[in-house]
Symmetry: C2
Subunit: 498 residues, 2 copies
C-alpha cells in the first residue's frame, strides 16, 4: 500500500463515520422532538441496521491493517494525521472487540429504552423501565470486559469517557470535595435561607422562549449555525462546526430552569462552533472529552451565568421580558436567588455548591451495580437512601428520584463523574483566565467576547487535535481540585455571610 | 445458493434499504423544518456519502445475482416475495446503470439545490437557481439515457414515475381534458364571479394550527402515528405504516390554503397508514405509484374536502375556530368560495377545474427542456408565455412563476403529470365507490369512515403488493378520462349555472 492511498482511505473512512453519525443523530433528534409517540419500533429497526452497517465498516479487519500501516509510517504523518491515527486506533480496539450482533442489539435497546424511560418518568413507573435498565447495565458490564478484561469493569467504563479515569482517582476527588464542601453546606443550613420565591411565579412559556433567544444572542451564538429546540431533557447535538443544536425544557413556574439550561447547552454549543475547520469530518471534530465539554457548559452556566456582573448586565433586559414578575426585584436579589444553596432533589436544577453531591450519588450507584454489589431493581431504594444521607432530603417519587436523568436510558454509564470533573476544571480555567485577561468589566457590560476568546484560544479551537490531557494542561496547568473548592467556599461564604 | 438463504438475503437487503431511507428522510425532514439556515454544506457531505453507501449496497453485482437466482425460483416464492423480486429487479436495473460517482454527485446536488431554491424563491432570483436547475435537468437527461437508451429521454423519465407512461399518452390525455374543460372555463369567465373575499381576511396562524388538528381528527388520522409540521412547501413523508409526517404552510390572509393542503397531505398519509403490516420494511411498503398516491390525496382534498356535504359537516366547527371571520358566512357561501374557478398563478392553490392546466404547463416545459427544445435559462419566459396562453394571466414575478414548486430542486422531473392523472383516477374511484356504498349521508355527518374504508379495501392496504396497473384496475376498472371531465363539467355547470 502507498502512503498516499492509505491517507485517502483514512479520510474516506472518517467521512463515512461522520455520515453515519449525522444519520443516527438526525433520527434521534427527530425522535425526541417531533416524532409521533408510537413510532419507536420502526425507528429502532432502522437505527439497529445503521449501527450494524457503521460497525461493520469500522470493525473491518482492513481498518485495523490500515491503522497499523499508518502507525508504522508515523514520522511521515502531519500532526493532525498522527492524532487521527492515534484516536482511531483507540476506538478501533474498543469497537472491534464488541461482536456485531451485540452491538446491533444494543443500538436497538438504546432506542427502545429511551422511549420507555420517557413513559416511565411521566408515569412514575420504575417497574416499567427496570427490565430495560437491567439489560443496559448488563450490556455495559459485558462491554467493560471487552474493553479491558484486566481492569475492574467500572474502571473500564470510566476510562471510556475519560481515559485513565478510575474509581481510585474519583474516590479521592469526591472525598476531597466532600471534605471541603460539606461543612459549608452544614453552616448554610444554620443560616437564614435566601428568598427565591419570585423565581417561581408564573412565567409564560412564550416569553421564556423569547428570553432564550436573547440569552443566545448575549452569548454570541450564531443562529445561522445553531438553533434551539424543546425536549424533555435538554441536550446539545453537534453535526459539525457549522451545525449545532441545543434544546431546553420550559417550566411555567421556574424561570431559572430553562434560563440556565440554555446557558449550559449554549456553552457546549459554543465549544463545538469554535472548533477549527481543519478537523471537520474527521474523528477529531467535536469536543475532546466529556469532562472538558462539561467544563465549558458549566463555565458559561455557573462561573459566568451565575456571577454578579453577568446578572447585573442582563437583568434590566430580563425585566422587559417579565415586567410583572420582576418589577419589585433587584439584580442583587436575583443573583442571590439563583445561587441559593439547598438540599434538593434534581441534579439539573441543583446549585453550584451541592451539585457535586448529586453526581457523587450517581457515581456510587453505578459503581455498586457494575461492581455486582447492587441489583438494578434495588436502585430506587439505594438512591433514596443516599439522597437522605448526603443531602438530607426524602425522595417523594422516582420521577424526581432515579428516573430523573436520561443518561442511563441512553447507555451512558460512567459518564456522570465528568460533570463533577468538568466543574472543577472550569474553576481552574477561570483563575487562569483572570490572570491573562480582565474579563469582568466586559461581562458586566454584557460582552462575553473576552471570555469566549480565551476559551476558544485555550480549549475550543483544538477539538480533538490535542489529547484531553494536553487541552487540560493548556487551559489549567496542573489540575488542582482545591482551586474549585476554594472558589465555592469563598463564593458561598460571601453569599451566606459565613 | 439455497432458496432459504437467498430469501434471508432478500429480506436483509430490503431492511437495509429501509434503514438508509429512514436516514436520508430524517436528515431531509430536519433540513426543511428546524435546521439552522447555513448548514447545507455539512449535510450535503453526509447525504452524499449515505447515498453512495446505499447505492453501493444495492448496485452490487451480488444483488443482481441474488435477484436472478430468485427469478429462476419464481414458482417457489409466495406472491409477496415474487412481487418483491419483480420490483427490486426493476429498480436494480435502473439503479445499477447509474455510475456511483454520478449518483453521489447527484445526491449532493439535490441537497444544495433545495437550499438554493428556497433562497431563490424568497428573493425572487431565478438567476441564483438557474445553474443548479441546469445541472438538475442535465443529470436527468443523462439518467434517462441510462434507464432506456431506446426511448425518447422524457419518455424514460415519465416511465420512472409511472411505468409505461409516455408523451404520446399524455398528449392525448391532456388534449382530451383541454377539449372538455376549456369551453367551461371560458363560459365561467363570462359569468358573475363567486365572492371569496371572506377567505382572505386575517386568519391568525395559531387558530389555523388548531383548525389543522381538527381536520386531521375529522379525517381519522391517528396522531400517535402521524404528526404535522410546517415547511415552505407542504409534503408527506412516510417512514413506515406506523410513522408518517405531513407538513403545511400557513398564510395569514388565506385560510383555504393550509386547510386544503392539510386535507391533501392527510390523504397521502391515510394511504401510507392503511398499508398492511406484511409489506413493511420491504420494497413494497409505501404507496404503489405517484399517480395512485396523488389520486388519494386529491380524493380527500377535492372529491370529499370540496364537496358540499363535507363542508356542511365541518362548517359549524370552523366557525368556532374563526368566529369573527365567519360570523356572516354560510356553509353554502363557503362551499362556493372554495370552489371558485379562476385563472390563477399558483398550482397548489388552483381550483379543481383549472388545476390540470397548471400541470400541463409544467409538462410542456419539461418535455421541451429534456427534448432539447428549450434552454433552462429560458424557462421563465416560456413559463410566463404559457400561463398567458392557457390561463390568460400575466405572471408578475418568478416567485409566483417558475420558482413556485419545489419539485425541480428535488430532482423530480417527469413527476408533475401524476397529479393530473391522479385527479382523473380519483374521479373514477368516486363513481365506483358511490355504486358500492352510500357515502354522502356519512360525510354530511362528518364521518369519513365509509370513504376511507372503501379506499383502504380497494387501494391502500395493498401498498406495492399489487402492481400499479392492478391497483388501478381494482379501484377503477378500465381507465376512462371522460368520467373525470364529466364530473368537473357537471360540478362547475351547477356552481356557475351554465
Amino acid at each position: 500500500m502507498e502512503l498516499k492511498e492509505a491517507l485517502e482511505q483514512l479520510s474516506l473512512l472518517q467521512k463515512k463515520m461522520y455520515a453515519y453519525n449525522v444519520a443516527s443523530s438526525s433520527i434521534y433528534l427527530d425522535a425526541v422532538t417531533v416524532a409521533p409517540s408510537d413510532t419507536a419500533e420502526g425507528r429502532g429497526e432502522a437505527l439497529g441496521i445503521l449501527a450494524g452497517e457503521s460497525h461493520k465498516l469500522f470493525a473491518d479487519p482492513a481498518v485495523g491493517e490500515l491503522l497499523a500501516f499508518l502507525r508504522e509510517h508515523k514520522q511521515e504523518l502531519t500532526q493532525l494525521q498522527a492524532r487521527q491515527v492515534e484516536e482511531l486506533s483507540r476506538s478501533y480496539r474498543q469497537l472491534s472487540v464488541i461482536p456485531q450482533d451485540e452491538y446491533m442489539e444494543y443500538a436497538k435497546l438504546t432506542n427502545e429504552a429511551d422511549a420507555v424511560w420517557h413513559k416511565a418518568k411521566e408515569t412514575n413507573d420504575f417497574a416499567l423501565f427496570c427490565p430495560y435498565l437491567e439489560k443496559m447495565f448488563a450490556f455495559n458490564r459485558k462491554f467493560a470486559g471487552y474493553y479491558d478484561a484486566d481492569k475492574a469493569p467500572y474502571d473500564a467504563l470510566l476510562s471510556e469517557y475519560e481515559r485513565g479515569l478510575s474509581m481510585e482517582y474519583l474516590d479521592r476527588f469526591f472525598g476531597q470535595v466532600r471534605e471541603a464542601l460539606v461543612p459549608v453546606i452544614h453552616a448554610i443550613n444554620e443560616k437564614e435561607q435566601i428568598d427565591d420565591s419570585f423565581l417561581h411565579q408564573h412565567y409564560p412559556i412564550d416569553a421564556q422562549r423569547k428570553f432564550s433567544d436573547y440569552l443566545m444572542e448575549v452569548m454570541g451564538l450564531d443562529r445561522t449555525h445553531c438553533t434551539i429546540g424543546e425536549t424533555e431533557h435538554p441536550f446539545t447535538l453537534n453535526f459539525n462546526n457549522k451545525d449545532v443544536r441545543i434544546t431546553t425544557h420550559y417550566l411555567e413556574d421556574n424561570v431559572a430552569s430553562s434560563m440556565y439550561s440554555v446557558i449550559h447547552e449554549g456553552g457546549h454549543a459554543m465549544y463545538e462552533l469554535n472548533i477549527d475547520d481543519d478537523v471537520q469530518y474527521t474523528c477529531l471534530a467535536g469536543g475532546v472529552s466529556m469532562s472538558i465539554h462539561e467544563s465549558q457548559s458549566r463555565f458559561y452556566e455557573n462561573l459566568i451565568g451565575r456571577s454578579k456582573p453577568f446578572i447585573e448586565a442582563i437583568f434590566p433586559k430580563m425585566q422587559e421580558f417579565f415586567p410583572e414578575q420582576l418589577k419589585n426585584v433587584t439584580a442583587e436579589q436575583f443573583y442571590r436567588a439563583v445561587n441559593k444553596a439547598e438540599l434538593s432533589l434534581v441534579r439539573t436544577e441543583a446549585d453550584e455548591l451541592t451539585y457535586c453531591l448529586h453526581v457523587m450519588i450517581r457515581y456510587e450507584i453505578e459503581k455498586a451495580v457494575i461492581g455486582g454489589k447492587l441489583e438494578v431493581r434495588d436502585i430506587p431504594a439505594e438512591w433514596n437512601r443516599l439522597y437522605k444521607e448526603y443531602l438530607g432530603v426524602d425522595v417523594p417519587d422516582d420521577r424526581r428520584g432515579c428516573l430523573q436523568d436520561s443518561h442511563w436510558s441512553g447507555g451512558l454509564i460512567g459518564y456522570f463523574p465528568s460533570y463533577a470533573l468538568g466543574s472543577a476544571y472550569g474553576a481552574q480555567m477561570l483563575r487562569n483566565m483572570e490572570q491573562d485577561v480582565e474579563i469582568w468589566p466586559s461581562v458586566a457590560a454584557g460582552d462575553l467576547s473576552p471570555v469566549t476568546g480565551w476559551l476558544k484560544e485555550k480549549v475550543h479551537r483544538f477539538g480533538g487535535s490535542l489529547t484531553p490531557a494536553d487541552v487540560l494542561k493548556n487551559a489549567c496547568g496542573e489540575f488542582d481540585p482545591s482551586i474549585y473548592t476554594d472558589y465555592l467556599v469563598k463564593k458561598y461564604s460571601e453569599l451566606y455571610q459565613l
